[in-house]
Symmetry: C2
Subunit: 188 residues, 2 copies
């Protein structure tokens, strides 16, 4: 998502292509990780907390895959509009900031999963609130009578806004599972 955001903001075709190429490697790694989880289930037949941990891992993989797909979508819009920039100057700041939050959340959620740090997992919800606020403001810019870039860029901005917002949602979901695994509180 870091590269995809940079590609988006700078209309950098090479970087967008790189994101698109790298996506395949993420999928392969997800498949491999999933096979490892299945092997644990088959060979060790875990129960109780251990079973839930493996099932959580399977769900986390699905969320990470979606996060990767959303970064892929950002890169593909960038490629589709190249050499034009996708974004009207006016909303660059929103995407710079949404990109920064998304990358932070991606990095934090990795640490949360590795460390089972529930405090840090709770902070993901705060970051998501920031993302949602930006997303709402972005929509009010779009809906404003002063918007003078026409419908086509508005459609792109709408989709891109949704991709960043969903990226953050998936990070929150993973964080929630870690909190549940650690404390037994709230749903997986």
């Amino acid at each position: 998502m870091e590269s995809a955001t940079q590609a988006l903001l700078q209309a950098d075709l090479l970087l967008a292509e790189q994101v698109i190429t790298d996506h395949e490697a993420i999928l392969q790694h997800a498949r491999k990780t999933e096979e490892q989880a299945l092997t644990v289930l088959a060979l060790q037949a875990p129960v109780a907390g251990d079973l839930r941990a493996v099932v959580s891992a399977l769900k986390n993989i699905a969320d990470v895959e979606r996060m990767a797909a959303l970064a892929l979508h950002v890169a593909k819009i960038t490629r589709r509009r190249h050499p034009q920039k996708v974004l009207p100057e006016e909303v660059n700041g929103y995407f710079t900031e949404m990109g920064r939050i998304a990358v932070d959340m991606g990095s934090n959620v990795k640490q949360v999963v590795l460390s089972m740090d529930t405090h840090r997992a709770e902070q993901l919800a705060d970051d998501d609130d920031d993302m949602d606020n930006l997303h709402r403001h972005l929509f009010s810019v779009l809906m404003d009578r002063e918007w003078k870039h026409g419908v086509a860029p508005a459609v792109d901005v709408t989709l891109l806004g949704r991709y960043y917002e969903r990226f953050a949602d998936h990070a929150v979901e993973i964080g929630r599972r870690v909190i549940f695994s650690a404390t037994g509180e709230s749903a997986v």
Copy 2:
């Protein structure tokens, strides 16, 4: 999705509210089904094909939950714009048809899961092609210089189009898993 589409097309607030209320029941049912899958894993420690079937079921639950969330989004946009209709007359036909395909796919995917009918599962991909074509046409209507409804309805139509397209994608995912379970071909 059937009710959500009807609510959308007719600006039917009561029906939209019903979809929003019913969503909670779907989530509860999903949680219950997931607990059943976990119980099977814990008590029966299945291996090989049986293990993959249970893990597939867990993934299917996640897809069905997303399908329900997408119908919820359709209902929420309908409620937000009430008593106005969300859709300009011009695109009603697209959403009537996308709704019909989505409902068909939802109904077919249920039969596919219950019957393990791989032929019917393959047809889901054809329906998804129809959905994607409609989605593309919808975008060309939005992008057309003749679009005279302004940016705000364009933003709603963009999001709604994405919801229907994603709904179909999830049905296809479930179908793919059934094909994989039955034949061992392609990824879970």
